[in-house]
């Protein structure tokens, strides 16, 4: 098995994660995500108390300008359940599962006229400093098809959300992502990956379950902000975390 085809996390839609990570800004990242997953729209929103230093709320969206304007003029942010609950919730949620107040129902009806999508899904994001944001994606697909799509790609979308969050923190605070500490096991798994071993082989070498090996590798990929194991290997070598085989 070659690098990058190991396991579910590396088999599909990685070009999407790559495009999001390669995007020059959060603004372009939301468009990249929309395009890659053929979403109707994508919105990224940093929790207000986190962006208190800046005057404007930090929102990057692919919504049409007319809808954004209408949303602001109507003061919808105060009644939008996706925003109100999104920052309080921890688990991702489907908009169709929200209990709507009459005002929120009006908002959704109004939104329909601006082609923002008929259904949506929101992923809460949090980092080590407990800074929060939400990533919302919308679609016009039939509800059942959409739910199946989310079921398949929820993990990747969460990863995309966290990758965009890192970009947003950079744009807001100029803070470069500092690579967190990798554990002994994570480095071991990555070293074997660098030597061309796949997860089943590494699990035999290290006497760990395959699932544990994949968990370590996913953790490494997240910490190094990489979309594939090959990229993680290259970055770890650059950073002298592992040595070339």
């Amino acid at each position: 098995m070659s690098l990058g085809t190991q396991g579910r996390e590396n088999s599909e839609f990685l070009p999407a994660l790559d495009a999001v990570r390669a995007a020059a800004s959060v603004e372009t990242a939301v468009f990249a995500l929309k395009l890659a997953y053929r979403m109707d729209h994508v919105t990224f929103h940093v929790a207000k108390n986190m962006s208190a230093r800046v005057e404007e709320p930090y929102i990057k969206t692919t919504y049409p300008a007319e809808w954004v304007k209408r949303y602001l003029v109507q003061g919808y942010v105060a009644i939008d359940p996706v925003v109100q609950q999104g920052f309080a919730r921890r688990l991702p949620f489907h908009w169709s599962d929200l209990e709507l107040t009459p005002e929120a129902r009006e908002l959704f009806l109004d939104a329909e006229r601006y082609d923002v999508g008929t259904t949506g899904y929101t992923i809460p994001v949090v980092d080590r400093e407990a800074r929060r944001s939400i990533l919302s994606v919308t679609s016009s697909r039939p509800e059942l098809e959409w739910r199946a799509f989310i079921q398949r790609h929820g993990t990747e979308l969460a990863e995309a959300g966290h990758a965009i969050h890192r970009k947003a923190m950079y744009e807001l605070y100029g803070e470069l992502h500092h690579f967190p500490h990798l554990s002994h096991r994570e480095i071991e798994c990555l070293s074997w990956t660098a030597q061309g071993k796949d997860a089943p082989t590494i699990s035999m070498i290290l006497h760990l379950s395959e699932h544990t090996v994949r968990a370590y590798l996913r953790s490494v990929r997240y910490k190094l902000d990489c979309s594939t194991l090959s990229q993680a290997v290259a970055k770890a070598m650059q950073l002298r975390i592992i040595t070339p085989p």
Binding site: E9, Q84, Q85, A88, R89, R90, L91, P92, I123, V125, V126, D127, R128, E129, A130, Q151, G154, T155, L157, A158, E159, G161, H162, P180, H181, L182, S183, H184, R185, E186, L208, S209, H211, T212, A215, Y216, R218, S219, R221, Y222, K223
Partner: protein
């Protein structure tokens, strides 16, 4: 019913939350002798202030608690990372959007005996684990990292959970404390339902599966 109580529902389930902190005090402070912060009858730590998800098993009226588990994403601040980094260096460092941490898992033997006399303690732990796996599966979670006392691992094995111990330490209380990674997948959920004798989903299902009440 098994539900995930999130911050926007804390008010609605305030009675259950109160019972959670009481049960945790009795379990971890009184019985297991862990060094945990106690405030009167409550056990609460800094992570409870960060708005975790409380996976709970309680009656539909929200007046009686059967068991609970605290879930937090490992991309954010976690107890295992902050407190157990030296004890479980490998497990505590795991961090990714699909990896969540479960801590403070416990059951209420008295309430279970009253309402579910046919559900033994091991099964109650298993059902909470199953509910967390079902919840995880629909939320993009593929791994749950958890700390537990050694006897609980046998309980989880018996319930069909698939987990691997990644570290173990003495000196926290009466038992050593272990840390392990549990797989969240379709195959785990199926296997757990089979071992626990549950026919359908337990998480977010208003009706308690018939088998439990039998």
């Amino acid at each position: 019913m098994f539900t995930a109580i999130e911050p926007h529902q804390y008010d609605k389930w305030s009675g259950i939350l109160d019972q959670i902190y009481r049960l945790r005090k009795k379990t971890f402070h009184d019985a297991l002798k862990w060094d945990v912060p106690v405030d009167g009858d409550h056990e609460r730590d800094a992570y409870d202030d960060l708005g975790p998800v409380y996976l709970t098993w309680h009656n539909p009226e929200g007046t009686k608690l059967y068991g609970t588990m605290r879930l937090m994403p490992t991309t954010g601040p976690t107890l295992l990372y902050d407190v157990f980094s030296n004890t479980f260096p490998d497990a505590a460092a795991l961090s990714a959007p699909g990896i969540w941490e479960a801590t403070r898992t416990c059951v209420h033997p008295g309430n279970l005996k009253e309402d579910f006399p046919h559900v033994p303690t091991w099964k109650a732990f298993g059902l909470i684990m199953l509910a967390s796996a079902e919840c995880g599966l629909r939320s993009g979670i593929h791994t749950i990292v958890s700390n537990y006392e050694p006897p609980l691992k046998r309980v989880y094995d018996r319930a069909g959970a698939i987990g691997e111990e990644l570290g173990r330490s003495d000196g926290y209380g009466r038992y050593p404390v272990c840390c392990g990674a549990f797989e969240v997948s379709e195959r785990v959920v199926h296997q757990m339902r089979e071992k626990l004798g549950v026919r359908g989903p337990v998480f977010n299902t208003p009706e308690i599966p018939q088998i439990l009440a039998a």
